[in-house]
Symmetry: C2
Subunit: 354 residues, 2 copies
């Protein structure tokens, strides 16, 4: 059986398509009343992630409402450290936290690479169930947090403003930091390969906090491990290419370096001009993005104009996946998402000559 | 009487000097025990800003400890909106807030440009007193928040994570937003010119939140007003040039545009590579920055190495003012600041051939 809608995959591979595909970071999420209902029934956020039937249900919810060209696995970027025994939980209003943060050399030495089909089997079960229920409507995106981003939460014990502890480790014990990042890169590689084996048709690496690093630290402590992961990925399954996407929030200055390590596409935050970005990366990669998530609060006319501008900035031909520059916010009106999706459909036809 | 140490001014103007000058954003601040003592006596943070004797005292404190090459007026970036009647106050742990945020068209129409020598006379008195007490040891930097940055606080009512309200205004009522920004630009111009008239020897515009905008919005809603201000500044006083500095945190992608509007120097955040930045802006501007403030938590050897690397990255010749990439954090050990200052003194000699 083949995909009924493969324009997302084709675009990532820069093959001709007749319009610009669209999906949305956090498209399965709190802005949808049907999501909030399941979330309430499930108990905690992690209860929702760890029950494949529920994860599947919320993954598919946005596709019932909107003509998105891809589904993304409902999960969290911090499943790997949780599987390493750090005890992930979500405290009200404060985001993710770990009961057992990593601080000492002995904490790092003790970390072991989880077997995705054992400690993270709930994710693989969700991938398999989603693929089955998707019935080839659109492709499924698997994902993971990047090693650097995982390390920030693991060392800080949760979200952070200044990244004092993780940067302290990086500055003062770089060899130890590299040991930790190497274990994380191995874990992410195994995790994404297991998602691919279970049925993910694209994988995306979220480097949410790479943008907090200096250029040289980004290259050494974040991008290097994104490359290690890329080199370990099995991106061929039964003759089909599994495209790969790298997204560093705040990484607009580093696109050239990011385009050089083998990913098929780069995610762009909203600060980066997609026209200039395309000129900088040339034909090396496709680009995904990059509407300011806050624009979805605006009136429909404004949203339509913003969508049109981004499509025009990217310009002619394949290689652009429309998306937000970061995740949708919890209290956006779902009708506004529909306006964005319709605008991408309407305005992007003119930029494709197939 | 002439300045005893003018290497900061000369460097901003790219004139030859024998070493790299250094000062530090928030150098008069909570990391200093002598500051905390005065702060406690003063009452609130604003009480400290509004009493010229106290503002003068804390401005001079860091110069007693460290060989900084410039003093910076102790004040807040939000004095202008406070003078406009918005009622600035500081709530414990939540940063600055306004009692009367600006939300409606009528709120914006009512805003009037403060007369700096009336509503902001406490700032001008502080500038005069500091100049007197500095006795020409080093130059005094005056400053203001940028119109866009002021507008974010004025519309949001305080600090913000997503800038939903101010961006909503910008997206949906751009003409009204421009009215507000124009009034702010007029106010900032008058304020900085008054600081110059009172004795400031350099002025710096802090665009703390410009980096939250898309490229096109940054150019239209932030940089445009930085340019309007620059064109209104009286940068000649008694035959002396008053150099100007523009700092947009998160603005590393826009350095070329920033270098084109007449400022003598650009501030760099720590994410931007100063070597690449220099190549991009060429001879148009000097550069100021850009050690990660978190590096000051590290051990002395690490700090020294980081300083050395930044100096080497900038390379030969004048045009580099050493600084952090953002303000120093409140709990840094002052001894570590000394390590940084000494390292700049020691390592920068080799990069100057005077």
């Amino acid at each position: 059986m083949t995909l009924k809608n493969d324009i997302f995959i084709k675009t990532l591979l820069k093959q001709p398509v007749d319009r610009t595909p669209i999906w949305m970071m956090r498209q399965a999420g709190r802005y949808l009343p049907e999501y909030r209902k399941i979330r309430e029934q499930a108990g905690s956020f992690m209860d929702l992630c760890t029950q494949p039937e529920l994860a599947c249900e919320v993954t598919l919810q946005p596709l019932e409402r909107f003509d998105f060209d891809a589904a993304i696995l409902f999960s969290d970027i911090l499943t790997i450290p949780d599987a390493m025994g750090l005890g992930l939980y979500f405290s009200e209003g404060e985001g993710p936290k770990f009961r057992n943060p990593v601080r000492t050399e002995s904490d790092i030495k003790k970390l072991s690479v989880p077997d995705p089909e054992i400690e993270l089997s709930y994710v693989m079960d969700a991938v398999r169930l989603i693929r089955k229920n998707l019935q080839e409507r659109v492709p499924l995106i698997g994902f993971s947090g990047s090693p650097w981003t995982l390390a920030t939460y693991m060392v800080e014990g949760g979200s952070s403003k200044n990244f004092r502890h993780v940067k302290g480790l990086m500055y003062e014990q770089p060899a130890l930091m590299h040991q930790m990042l190497d274990k994380l890169a191995q874990s992410v590689s195994a995790y994404l390969n297991a998602q691919i084996a279970a049925g993910a048709q694209t994988v995306m690496l979220f480097d949410t906090w790479g943008g907090m690093l200096s250029t040289e630290d980004y290259l050494e402590f974040s991008l290097r491990y994104a490359q290690q992961i890329r080199e370990s990925l099995n991106t061929n399954r039964d003759g089909q290419t599994i495209p790969t996407i790298l997204f560093t929030k705040g990484g607009g200055q580093w696109l050239e370096a990011m385009a050089d390590i083998g990913y098929d596409a780069l995610g762009l935050d909203w600060q980066t001009d997609i026209n200039l970005a395309r000129a900088r990366v040339g034909d090396k990669v496709a680009l995904q993005g990059n509407l300011d998530p806050i624009a979805l609060y605006a009136e429909p006319d404004v949203i339509r104009q913003k969508v049109k501008t981004i499509l025009e900035k990217f310009g002619e031909g394949s290689g652009h996946v429309f998306n937000l520059g970061h995740g949708i916010l919890p209290d956006v009106n779902p009708e506004h998402v529909k306006v964005m999706v319709d605008a991408v459909h309407e305005f992007s036809l003119a930029h494709h000559n197939v």
